[in-house]
C-alpha cells in the first residue's frame, strides 16, 4: 500500500510483557499523531507539520534531513532514508504527495501518515483494513465513532470510558491520538488497578 522502503516499519508490532509473571501481548505502534508533537516542535524548517484534522505529516520536499525530529520522537516512529530507496515502477509512476510520501526519496524522514487518501474516501487506514482480527479501530473523534476491518463500529467515548484505555507514554505530555485497550482477557472488571 505505502510501498514502504525495506527497513522501515511505519507500524511496528512489539512483543511486550508487563512482567515476567504475565503473558506477552502484541503492541502495535503507528505514528501517534500527537496533539503536542515533539517532532513538529523541533523541526527547523517546518517540514513536519500538524494538520487541522490532527494528522502529522512531513513535507519531503522541504525536509533537510537533520533528523532532529527522530531524536525528539519518544515513540521512535520516524524513519530516515539513509540511502536511495529501491524503487518500483508503480511507485515512480505516482506524482509526489505529502499524504503518501511516495515516491520515496533519499535523505529525508518518513513515517506513518494515517492514510489521509483512504480516509477521505471513507475507508479506514491500511493497517486497520488489513487486520484480520479487527483489533485496530479508526475514526473521527468528533463523530465519536470508530470502525475496524470487520465492520464493527463503536462509540469512541464509551470504549475509552469502559475499557481502561490508555495512551502510550501519555505522561510525557505528547497528547497522542492513539489509544490502547487492555487485552480482552484482562478486562477492566477483573483488574482492580485499572478502574477507568
Amino acid at each position: 500500500m505505502h510501498l514502504v522502503p525495506p527497513g522501515q516499519e511505519w507500524i511496528k508490532i512489539y512483543n511486550l510483557e508487563h512482567s515476567s509473571a504475565t503473558s506477552a501481548y502484541f503492541f502495535p505502534r503507528p505514528c501517534m499523531q500527537c496533539d503536542n508533537p515533539p517532532c513538529v516542535n523541533v523541526c527547523p524548517v517546518g517540514a513536519s507539520y500538524k494538520r487541522s484534522d490532527g494528522i502529522v505529516l512531513i513535507d519531503q520536499e522541504l525536509c533537510i534531513g537533520c533528523r532532529f525530529c527522530m531524536a525528539a520522537c519518544p515513540y521512535s516512529a520516524r524513519y530516515f532514508n539513509w540511502g536511495e530507496p529501491p524503487h518500483t515502477e508503480l511507485e515512480l509512476s505516482q506524482p509526489y504527495s505529502v499524504e503518501t510520501n511516495i515516491p520515496h526519496r533519499r535523505g529525508v524522514v518518513e513515517k506513518c501518515v494515517f492514510c489521509p487518501a483512504l480516509t477521505r474516501q471513507g475507508q479506514i487506514p491500511a493497517c486497520g483494513a488489513a487486520c484480520p482480527q479487527g483489533a485496530i479501530y479508526f475514526g473521527d473523534e468528533h463523530e465519536d465513532a470508530v470502525t475496524n476491518s470487520l465492520g464493527e463500529t463503536y462509540r469512541l467515548s464509551e470504549m475509552l470510558d469502559s475499557g481502561a484505555a490508555h495512551r502510550h507514554l501519555e505522561e510525557l505530555g505528547t497528547e497522542p491520538r492513539v489509544w490502547y485497550l487492555p487485552p480482552r482477557t484482562l478486562s477492566a472488571n477483573d483488574s482492580d488497578g485499572f478502574q477507568g
Binding site: 522501515q8 524548517v45 525536509c63 529525508v108
Partner: protein
C-alpha cells in the same frame, strides 16, 4: 619599531643568531627589535617543517573531503548511523569543537575584564583556537544533513521555535564576534608587519596592508582600539554562554531519557570551559617549544592556567556528579538501561575513563605541585618509582595475562587478578607522583591532554548511548541494529576536520604573530608580575622545566 642591533631595550645582549638575522632584516631597509624578531620569526621564516605540517594536514584533510564526497554520492547510508542511533560522530564533533571554542571568550574576556596582566602572551592563541574551532564546529551539523543542498531552507523556511535555529543564530553571532575580538588586537601587529616585513611574498604584504586599515599608532587610534576591545569583552561573554547553552538544548529539549535534563545548559558550559582552557594549555606548550617562546610563555603562565583548568575541571566534575548521581539514585525505569550501560555495561570503560582518568586524575595532577607532603615522600627510598613501579607493572601484566588466558569458569579469579592489576597500575602511577611534582609544566600539559581527550569521549557518551536506549526501539534490538559502529567515512571526516582545525590554527600562527607583539612590548618582564596563586613548597616556580 626602534633600531636596535646589539642590545634590546631590556639591555640583554642578543644571541649571535638573532643579531645576524636582525642585521639581515636591517639591510633590507627595516629593523626589528629582538622582541619583535622573536615573535615575528615564525611569520618570516617558513622552514621545511612548516611545509611538512601543512602537507600532512592537507593530506588528512583531502582524505576527509574524499570521505564526504563518498557520503554525498551514496547518502548517509555509508555512515554507521541508522534509524535508532540517528546521530553519531558528526554531532559528537560538533559539540566538542563548540566546547573548545569557549576558551577565547574565557581568556580574552574574563581575564581582560578582571585585569589579569599575565594574559597578554596567551590571549591571541586562545582566540585563534576559538576561531578555528568554530569554523569546524559549525561545519559538522552541515555534514550531518541528509539533504545538504537544501541548506537555504533554514533561512527561507526557518522556524525560530526550533533549537536548531537558536544554534544557527548564536553560533554565527559568536563566530562574527570572536573574529572581531581576534582581529582588533591584531591591528597594531598587522601595521608592524606591513611596515617591517619586506621579504615576505607580495600577497602577504597586500594582506597585512589591507588588514592593518591604516593603523598609525596615533593616540586616538589606540584609544578607539581599547574602547572597542572593552566593548567586545563585555559583549562576547553572554554570547559564548548562550552558544553552548543552546547546543546543549538541542538535546535537553527532547523527551529522551538521558537528555531530558534541566542542568544541561550549565553542565555543557562548564565542560566547554574546562576543555577550552585545557586546549589552550596544550597550545601554549606546543608553541613554546616550536617557536622558542620560553621568554614569553613562562612557568607562571602554566601555573596560572593550571589553576584555571583545575577550577573548571572540578566544576565540571561537580556537574557530572549532579547529573549522574541524581539519576542513578532513583534508577527511573526510562533511564535504567542507559545508566547501567554507562556504569557497568558495554560503555563502562569509556564512562569511567572520562570520570576518573579524564577528570579526577587531571585534578590530582594539577594540584600536585602545591602538595608539600609529596616533596618529603621523595626522600623515602621504598617510595621511589623503580621498586614500586616495577611491582605495579608486574601486577598489571599478570592480571592482563590472567584475564586473557584463564578459562571462563575461573572468571572470579580473573576478576580478582584484574583488580590486582588495576591496583598495581595505580601504585605505579602513585609512585610517579613525586617525580611529576617537580615538573609542574608537564603536570599541566598531561592533565590538559587528558581533559581534552575526556571532552571528546564525554560528548560521544552523551550523544550515542542515549539514542541506543529509547523508550521504544525503531528496530529489533536483537538484530543489533540499535548499536552504533562508526564507519571509515565518519572517522575520515572526523580526522579531516581535526586536521583542518590544526591546519587553520597552524597557518594562523605562520601568518600572524601568535603572541601579540605590541601588547607584550611595554612590559618590563613578564616574570615580575605578581603571582595571584598561592603556592606551597614548590621549588619549580622559577625553573622552566617541561
Amino acid at each position: 619599531m626602534i633600531l636596535m642591533v646589539s642590545k634590546d631595550k631590556k639591555g640583554r645582549v642578543m644571541s649571535t643568531r638573532a643579531v645576524n638575522n636582525t642585521m639581515h632584516q636591517a639591510s633590507a631597509g627595516t629593523a626589528l627589535s629582538e622582541h619583535e624578531y622573536a615573535l615575528l620569526k615564525p611569520v618570516m621564516e617558513w622552514g621545511r617543517g612548516t611545509y611538512l605540517v601543512l602537507a600532512i594536514c592537507s593530506t588528512v584533510g583531502i582524505f576527509g573531503l574524499y570521505a564526504y564526497a563518498t557520503q554525498l554520492r551514496e547518502g548517509l547510508v555509508v555512515t554507521g548511523m541508522r534509524d535508532q542511533v540517528s546521530w553519531g560522530l558528526y554531532i559528537t564533533n560538533f559539540v566538542f569543537f563548540i566546547g573548545i571554542s569557549h576558551v577565547g571568550a574565557l581568556l580574552s574576556s574574563i581575564l581582560r575584564l578582571t585585569g589579569a596582566k599575565w594574559r597578554y602572551p596567551i590571549t591571541r592563541m586562545a582566540e585563534a583556537i576559538t576561531f578555528a574551532a568554530l569554523l569546524f564546529g559549525a561545519l559538522m551539523p552541515l555534514l550531518d544533513l541528509g539533504r545538504p543542498e537544501r541548506i537555504a531552507n533554514l533561512i527561507s523556511h526557518g522556524r525560530l521555535q526550533s533549537p536548531i535555529l537558536w544554534d544557527i543564530l548564536s553560533i554565527t553571532t559568536y563566530l562574527v564576534g570572536s573574529s572581531i575580538f581576534l582581529y582588533l588586537p591584531l591591528i597594531p601587529d598587522l601595521a608592524l608587519m606591513r611596515d617591517k616585513l619586506v621579504n615576505v611574498p607580495g600577497w602577504r604584504r597586500w594582506l597585512y596592508r589591507v588588514l592593518a586599515m591604516g593603523w598609525k599608532a596615533r593616540p586616538e587610534q589606540h584609544e578607539r582600539l581599547e574602547h572597542s576591545m572593552n566593548t567586545m569583552a563585555v559583549l562576547i561573554l553572554p554570547i559564548a554562554i548562550m552558544v553552548h547553552t543552546v547546543v546543549s538544548w538541542i538535546f535537553a529539549m527532547t523527551l529522551r531519557p538521558g537528555w531530558n535534563s534541566t542542568i544541561f545548559g550549565p553542565y555543557f558550559v562548564a565542560g566547554a570551559l574546562a576543555s577550552g582552557a585545557a586546549s589552550v594549555v596544550l597550545a601554549m606548550a606546543v608553541f613554546r617549544r616550536m617557536y622558542h617562546l620560553e621568554t614569553y610563555i613562562t612557568p607562571l603562565h602554566f601555573r596560572n592556567m593550571a589553576a584555571l583548568v583545575l577550577v573548571l575541571d572540578l566544576v565540571y566534575l561537580y556537574f557530572n556528579l549532579a547529573e549522574y548521581a541524581t539519576a542513578a539514585y532513583k534508577m527511573e525505569l526510562g533511564e535504567r538501561a542507559l545508566l547501567m550501560e554507562l556504569f557497568t555495561g558495554r560503555l563502562a570503560p569509556v564512562f569511567w575513563f572520562t570520570q576518573v582518568v579524564g577528570l579526577i586524575v587531571p585534578a590530582i595532577l594539577l594540584m600536585l605541585p602545591s602538595i608539600g607532603m609529596l616533596a618529603r615522600a621523595r626522600t623515602v627510598p621504598w617510595l621511589r618509582p623503580i621498586p614500586l613501579g616495577a611491582g605495579g607493572a608486574v601486577l598489571a601484566v599478570a592480571a592482563l595475562g590472567a584475564s586473557r588466558f584463564l578459562p571462563a569458569q575461573n572468571s572470579n579469579i580473573a576478576t580478582y587478578l584484574l583488580w590486582a592489576g588495576i591496583a598495581g597500575a595505580g601504585l605505579f602511577a602513585l609512585s610517579l607522583l613525586p617525580r611529576l611534582q617537580a615538573r609542574p609544566v608537564a603536570c599541566a600539559v598531561i592533565a590538559s591532554g587528558l581533559i581534552v581527550l575526556q571532552a571528546w569521549l564525554k560528548r560521544y557518551i552523551i550523544v550515542v548511548p542515549v539514542l541506543q536506549h529509547p523508550y521504544l526501539s525503531s528496530h529489533e534490538p536483537a538484530l543489533g541494529i540499535g548499536l552504533y559502529q562508526p564507519t571509515w567515512v565518519e572517522w575520515g571526516i572526523t580526522a579531516g576536520a581535526m586536521a583542518g582545525f590544526v591546519m587553520v590554527y597552524f597557518l594562523f600562527s605562520r601568518l600572524f604573530p601568535i603572541v601579540s607583539v605590541w601588547e607584550t612590548e611595554q612590559r618590563e618582564s613578564i616574570q615580575e608580575i605578581p603571582v595571584p596563586v598561592r603556592h606551597a613548597h614548590t621549588p619549580a616556580a622559577a625553573s622552566p622545566e617541561v
